[in-house]
């Protein structure tokens, strides 16, 4: 194995810029931006993973394999409240049995109460890691995440009403290219300011009354555009304003868990596991805000989201708001998704009249 460490985290929305900053400035290792997800990624992933594991596992495994083929040698996985907790160990085992040689930084291994365990696990990434540097890089990383989410939110609300199509995307692309070569936190504020101005200057043709739709769903599927068949884009093309509150800002930087649990209390008294309470609370928030429809996306067999579905149906009945459920596996057809979205749009428009 080459001595140079190349770290890689699976493709997940636009957050690779933040991870890149953390690993290059905090851990002092090279970071490889994961190759964008394609059909091949998913095929590789589903070929090597168990049959009815949730789709995000398949995406992650496919990403790992492609990254290893491209020269990464340090992979990582986060932990979570559901099956995500076990992703790390299982994917490591599968990849090792496939014959790959790599380091694996598994956050589920860390005992957070023991400093020794934390250091031991951080040393998996880089044996000479300095904790001071990692901690110093963290605030900027979190700020990058916030900036990315702010941009994404603005685009989500407005991209459907562009006068010249694709203008926003080109501004965003320029911005994210610059974000990749970020040196320090001060630079970030300047960059964010200039590009936020630029993206606001993009000409919009927004009618007074727009159709608003809220997106809820499981952590990965709702955030990663490929895994929900670019649904946000599709909705924007129809001229809809898309709202989505499930992002890293609301779960990691400013954790909204307690607030969301309180909001959901009327329907779900207790924690229902993983993102279920987020889904319920956000659906309620959107319903109260008077949105025209709600779309729930989830991967097939996601237990917390399935448990939230009867609750969403009750909310739908109480607030008279349409809720559309999508369940994605590795073999959902693109045309099927499109047809259902078009029908949903027609229904939303018809309800307004």
């Amino acid at each position: 194995m080459n001595n140079e460490i190349v770290a890689c985290f699976p493709q997940w929305a636009n957050y690779s810029h933040a991870f890149k900053y953390l690993f290059e400035h905090g851990f002092d290792v090279k970071y490889m931006t994961p190759p964008p997800i394609t059909k091949r990624t998913l095929e590789l992933g589903s070929k090597n993973s168990p049959d009815y594991v949730c789709a995000p596992f398949k995406y992650c495994l496919g990403c790992y394999i492609e990254a290893l083929q491209n020269g990464a040698n340090c992979l990582m996985q986060i932990f979570g409240a559901c099956r995500l907790n076990y992703y790390g160990e299982l994917s490591e085992q599968i990849l090792r049995d496939m014959g790959y040689n790599f380091h694996f930084f598994n956050m589920a291994n860390i005992k957070w109460t023991s400093p020794r365990s934390i250091m031991e696990n951080l040393r998996v990434v880089n044996p000479e890691v300095s904790l001071v540097k990692v901690v110093k890089a963290l605030p900027t990383t979190l700020r990058i995440i916030k900036v990315i989410d702010k941009f994404d939110n603005y685009i989500r609300h407005n991209v459907g009403f562009e006068v010249k199509e694709g203008e926003m995307e080109s501004v965003y692309k320029e911005f994210s290219d610059k974000l990749d070569n970020l040196k320090n936190g001060r630079e970030l504020s300047k960059l964010a300011k200039t590009y936020y101005k630029k993206i606001k200057q993009v000409q919009l043709n927004k009618p007074a009354k727009t159709y608003k739709v809220g997106m809820v769903g499981d952590y990965y599927t709702v955030q990663e555009p490929f895994s929900n068949y670019f649904m946000e884009k599709e909705l924007a093309k129809m001229g809809m304003e898309v709202y989505r509150d499930m992002n890293l800002t609301n779960t990691l930087v400013h954790n909204q868990w307690k607030k969301r649990k309180k909001t959901a209390k009327k329907y779900a008294k207790y924690s229902m596991g993983a993102t279920a309470n987020f889904t319920v609370a956000e659906t309620l928030m959107y319903a109260r805000a008077g949105m025209d429809g709600i779309i729930q996306v989830k991967s097939f067999g996601c237990t917390p989201e399935i448990d939230a579905m009867p609750v969403l149906q009750n909310i739908s009945r109480d607030y008279k708001i349409p809720v559309l459920h999508f369940s994605f596996d590795s073999q959902t057809s693109e045309t099927g998704v499109k047809t259902r979205l078009e029908a949903f749009y027609d229904m939303v428009v018809a309800r307004q009249k």
């Binding site: 009815y52 409240a81 076990y86 160990e89 049995d97 207790y270 596991g273 237990t303 448990d307 009867p310």
Partner: protein
């Protein structure tokens, strides 16, 4: 006041604890019958398509109970043995109260949210007070019930250890959750079929939970679910003592979908058969698969003897 206990999910883990507790307090209760086709169908109609089979069965049992009692007993258990649980145990009270909202179904339950030894007693105390009993009554009933459950499990474990040592038949370790192996619709036909094929089914669930959980680190270190840890630990303890392993899963069980794969990757020299059950029963197909599996075990044994 009559309490209805659904014979599903956690019932199979706490059977004696619950019944003794209510007996000691003198609360009248009924337990729904063994799972049958009607109950499964009723549950499948009520549930979302993708829900796992045990949850569908739970809904079916509650559907059976809903007109026959005043309150349905359905606890929420978020941790066991200091480890996490599958999210369906966290969500089941909310799930049921939302599914049966039109029926105005009343639920009575205890809620174990925190880790630690006293959490269970505190949860029971709260439930007992809700039912209108004194603290001393609840304390006595709980500890009697806990002892009954403990002795019941100990007896089961010892009995199985004796079988494991004495039996000369082919020993097959059956790996399934408590609520699957003891269910009349899922597990019982498999155990019966194994006995008919002249095998000795060793139930992983009957092994001692604490030793198993300790032993499970040999196969998997970061496994988060207590019940799966129990089963995986049984594999690492018994894999050299049995002739084969049958993994019985329900579709689409979240934890099992990953843990089964892990077992397949780690345990190499024992023949493993994975059976997946769903709401459509097809016992004939499963019998054929078990027959050929037992043939493989016999074939392997003959080869080793030569």
């Amino acid at each position: 006041m009559k309490i209805g206990i659904p014979r599903a999910l956690l019932y199979y883990k706490n059977e004696k604890l619950w019944t003794t507790f209510f007996d000691e307090l003198g609360v009248e209760y009924i337990i729904s019958p063994e799972t049958n086709k009607e109950i499964v169908n009723a549950g499948a109609n009520l549930a979302i398509d993708e829900t796992c089979l045990p949850t569908k069965i739970l809904l079916g049992h509650i559907d059976w109970l809903k007109d026959k009692c005043d309150m349905v007993f359905l606890p929420r258990v978020a941790t066991a043995h200091g480890y996490g649980m599958c999210t369906k145990f966290l969500a089941q009270t909310d799930l049921v109260s939302n599914t049966f909202r039109e029926h105005k179904l009343k639920l009575v339950f205890y809620n174990i949210d925190k880790r630690g030894t006293k959490a269970e007693y505190k949860a029971f105390k709260k439930m007992g007070k809700f039912l209108g009993f004194k603290r001393s009554q609840i304390k006595f009933a709980f500890f009697t019930a806990k002892q009954a459950q403990l002795y019941y499990e100990m007896f089961r474990t010892q009995n199985q250890e004796r079988i494991l040592q004495e039996s000369k038949k082919n020993k097959v370790l059956v790996l399934a959750h408590a609520y699957n192996i003891a269910d009349a619709f899922i597990g019982e036909p498999i155990v019966r079929a194994l006995k008919q094929l002249d095998c000795e089914p060793i139930i992983a669930e009957y092994c001692d939970a604490k030793t198993c959980i300790k032993a499970s680190t040999e196969i998997s270190k970061t496994l988060p679910w207590a019940y799966n840890k129990h089963l995986v630990g049984a594999v690492s303890l018994l894999k050299d003592k049995v002739d084969g392993i049958v993994i019985l899963t329900t579709f689409p069980c979240g934890p099992d979908s990953m843990v089964n794969e892990m077992i397949m990757h780690k345990v190499k020299n024992v023949p493993i058969l994975v059976l997946t059950m769903d709401a459509q029963d097809a016992t004939a197909g499963i019998e054929t698969r078990l027959e050929s599996y037992v043939d493989i075990i016999n074939f392997k044994k003959e080869r080793e003897n030569e």
